[in-house]
C-alpha cells in the first residue's frame, strides 16, 4: 500500500517537473482551457440565475389572465366580462387590471404604467422605478410631466422610487392612481386592460379557461403555466442565443481536445521511448500522462469556474448581458442572486475534464506500446 502511494507520488512529481520543463507550451494550453471553461460556466451560471429570477417573478402571477382579441389584436376588455367570469364555479376572484406602455419621446424610453390606488399612490402622485428616475433625472418630492392625448400634460409628483434591488422587475415602472391613468391615456370608461382570474383548485383551471372561451368567444384566456413554459424556453438551452454561444464553446473545445488527441510531438515520443528503455512499464507511462492531464485540467476547471462565478455574480455578466437581457432604453441595473446548480457543474466537468484527460492518454498509450527503439528514432 505504502509502495503504491510512493509510486504514485514519484510519478506525479515527474509529471509536474516535465510540465515545468515545457512551461510556455503548457501555460498557453492552460490559458486556452481556462477560457473555454470560463465561457461555458459563465453561460451556465447566467442562464440559471435568469431562470430563477423569472420563476420568482412568475411565482405570484395570477393563475389565469383573460384578454380580449379583436381581429387578432389585443383589445380592452369590458368590465362586465369580469362579473360573468366570477360566477363560473371554482373561480375565487376576478380582478380588473389597468396597465399600459408610455413611450417617452424625450429620451426614447418605454415605461410600463400601472394604475393602482394604494396608500402611497394618491392622485397626482407616482411611484417610479429607478430606471425612470435616472432617465427623467427626478428625485422623491419632485414633479415630472407626462404627455396626454389632450392639451394639458399630466403633472406627477414622485412619492417613492423603488430600490435598485427590484430593478429587474421595476426599472421601467410607473404606478399612478386610476383617475390619473384615465387622464394620461384618455382611457375609455367601463373598459380595462385585462382580467386576472384566481382559481382555488388548480385542477379546475383548464375547465375554467374553456368555459371563459365558450362564454366569450372573443376572449383569450392565458394560463400561468403557459407563461411559465414560454419564459423557461426563452432562457432554456434551446433559447437561440444561449445555444449558439454554447455550441461555439463546445466546438472550440472539441477542436482543442482533437488537437491534443491526434498525436504527440516528436519530442514527447522520444521521451516516452527513453522512459520505456530505462525500464518504465506501459502502465507507468500511462499514469504519468494521466497525472499530466489532471495537472492541467483540474486547475483549469477550478479557475474557469471561479472566474465565471465572479464574472456573472459580481460583475453581472458584462460579456453576455447586452445580448441576453432585453430592455429597450432603460437597462435595469441588477445584481444576480448567486445560484449554483451542482448537477450542471458536474455535467460540465464530465464534458470537459474527462474527455481531455482521455484525449491525452490515448496517443501516449499508442506510443508506449511500440518498441522503445522505434519510438526514439521516429
Amino acid at each position: 500500500m505504502i509502495r503504491t502511494g510512493e509510486r504514485q507520488r514519484n510519478i506525479l512529481e515527474f509529471a509536474l517537473s516535465s510540465l515545468h520543463r515545457r512551461r510556455g507550451r503548457n501555460l498557453s494550453l492552460l490559458a486556452m482551457y481556462v477560457l473555454i471553461i470560463f465561457v461555458l460556466a459563465s453561460l451556465l451560471f447566467f442562464v440559471s440565475a435568469l431562470k430563477r429570477e423569472a420563476a420568482l417573478v412568475l411565482h405570484d402571477a395570477p393563475d389565469l389572465i383573460v384578454q380580449r382579441m379583436i381581429a387578432g389584436r389585443q383589445e380592452l376588455i369590458p368590465v362586465e366580462y369580469g362579473a360573468e367570469i366570477a360566477s363560473i364555479r371554482g373561480v375565487a376572484e376576478v380582478r380588473s387590471r389597468l396597465w399600459g406602455y408610455y413611450f417617452d419621446s424625450w429620451n426614447g424610453a418605454n415605461y410600463t404604467v400601472i394604475a393602482h390606488n394604494s396608500p402611497t399612490g394618491t392622485e397626482g402622485g407616482a411611484a417610479i422605478g429607478s430606471g425612470v428616475a435616472r432617465s427623467r433625472k427626478v428625485k422623491v418630492g419632485e414633479m415630472f410631466p407626462l404627455r396626454t392625448p389632450g392639451t394639458e400634460p399630466l403633472l406627477l409628483e414622485v412619492k417613492t422610487i423603488f430600490p435598485d434591488s427590484s430593478d429587474l422587475r421595476a426599472a421601467d415602472l410607473i404606478i399612478i392612481s386610476t383617475a390619473d391613468f384615465s387622464r394620461l391615456f384618455n382611457f375609455p370608461v367601463g373598459k380595462v386592460t385585462d382580467l386576472a382570474v384566481t382559481v382555488t383548485n388548480v385542477r379546475e383551471l383548464p375547465t375554467v379557461a374553456a368555459k371563459i372561451a365558450s362564454l366569450h368567444p372573443d376572449s383569450r384566456p392565458i394560463l400561468k403555466s403557459e407563461i411559465q413554459r414560454t419564459y423557461q424556453s426563452i432562457f432554456d438551452w434551446r433559447g437561440g442565443m444561449t445555444l449558439l454561444i454554447l455550441l461555439s464553446a463546445v466546438l472550440s473545445f472539441i477542436i482543442f481536445a482533437w488537437d491534443r488527441a491526434t498525436g504527440l510531438s516528436a519530442e514527447e515520443r522520444k521521451e516516452i521511448g527513453i522512459l520505456k528503455s530505462i525500464g518504465w512499464e506501459t502502465s507507468d507511462v500511462l499514469l504519468l500522462k494521466f497525472w499530466e492531464g489532471c495537472a492541467i485540467s483540474l486547475p483549469a476547471f477550478l479557475l474557469g469556474v471561479i472566474l465565471a462565478y465572479g464574472h456573472v455574480f459580481f460583475l453581472s455578466a458584462p460579456l453576455f448581458s447586452q445580448a441576453l437581457k432585453g430592455w429597450s432604453i432603460l437597462y435595469p441595473r441588477f445584481q444576480l442572486v448567486p445560484v449554483v446548480d451542482i448537477s450542471q457543474l458536474l455535467v460540465l466537468f464530465f464534458l470537459t475534464v474527462i474527455p481531455y484527460t482521455t484525449a491525452t492518454i490515448i496517443p501516449s498509450w499508442r506510443t508506449a506500446t511500440i518498441d522503445p527503439d522505434a519510438a526514439m528514432r521516429s
Binding site: 417573478v57 412568475l58 405570484d60 402571477a61 395570477p62 364555479r89 371554482g90 375565487a92 376572484e93 380582478r95 387590471r97 400601472i114 393602482h116 394604494s118 396608500p119 402611497t120 399612490g121 411611484a127 417613492t160 422610487i161 423603488f162 430600490p163 427590484s166 422587475r169 421595476a170 415602472l173 404606478i175 386576472a196 384566481t198 382555488t200 383548485n201 388548480v202 385542477r203 379546475e204 375547465t207 368555459k211
Partner: protein, 158 residues
Amino acid sequence: MNRLYTLFITVCVLWTTTVSAVDKGAPPVPATAKCAVCGMFVAKYPEWVSSTRFKDGSLSYYDGPKDMFSHYFDTARYTPGKRQADMVTLTVKDYYTLAPLDARTAFYVTGSDISGPMGQELVPFRGEKDARAFKADHKGKRIVRFNEITLQSITALK
C-alpha cells in the same frame, strides 16, 4: 420600510396575489404526515387532503377521500385497536373552494375524469348544485352521499 411596503404593493398589483382558501380554519397539514392507508406524504396534495379525528384526539391524514373511506370501513386494519365508532370527525375538502367539509354531509361524484394521487376518486362537494355542475363538466357517472358508499364501491375504484 416605506419603500419595501410600496414594492410589496407593486408586486401585488402586477401579479395579484390572492391567498387561497387552503386549510382555512383547519390546522395546517404537517409536512411529514403520511396517508394512514397508502403511506404517501399528504402535504404534497393539498387539494385532496382528508382527515379523521379519533375520540382520543389523534388525527389520521389521507391523500384523498377514497383512502379515508378505506380506513373508515376497515379501521382496525390500519389503526390496530381502534374501531369505526371511535372516529369523531371525518373531513374532506370541497373541490371548488378547497374549504374543509364534514365528510358525512358532502356530495360525492364518482367516475369523473379528475383523478387524485391514488387514481380514481370520490370528488367531494358541499352543495348538490356544485356536484351536478362538476358531473356535467367532468363526465361524472353518479352523485352519491356518505351513507350510500360501501366498501365494495371503494374497492371497485382503481
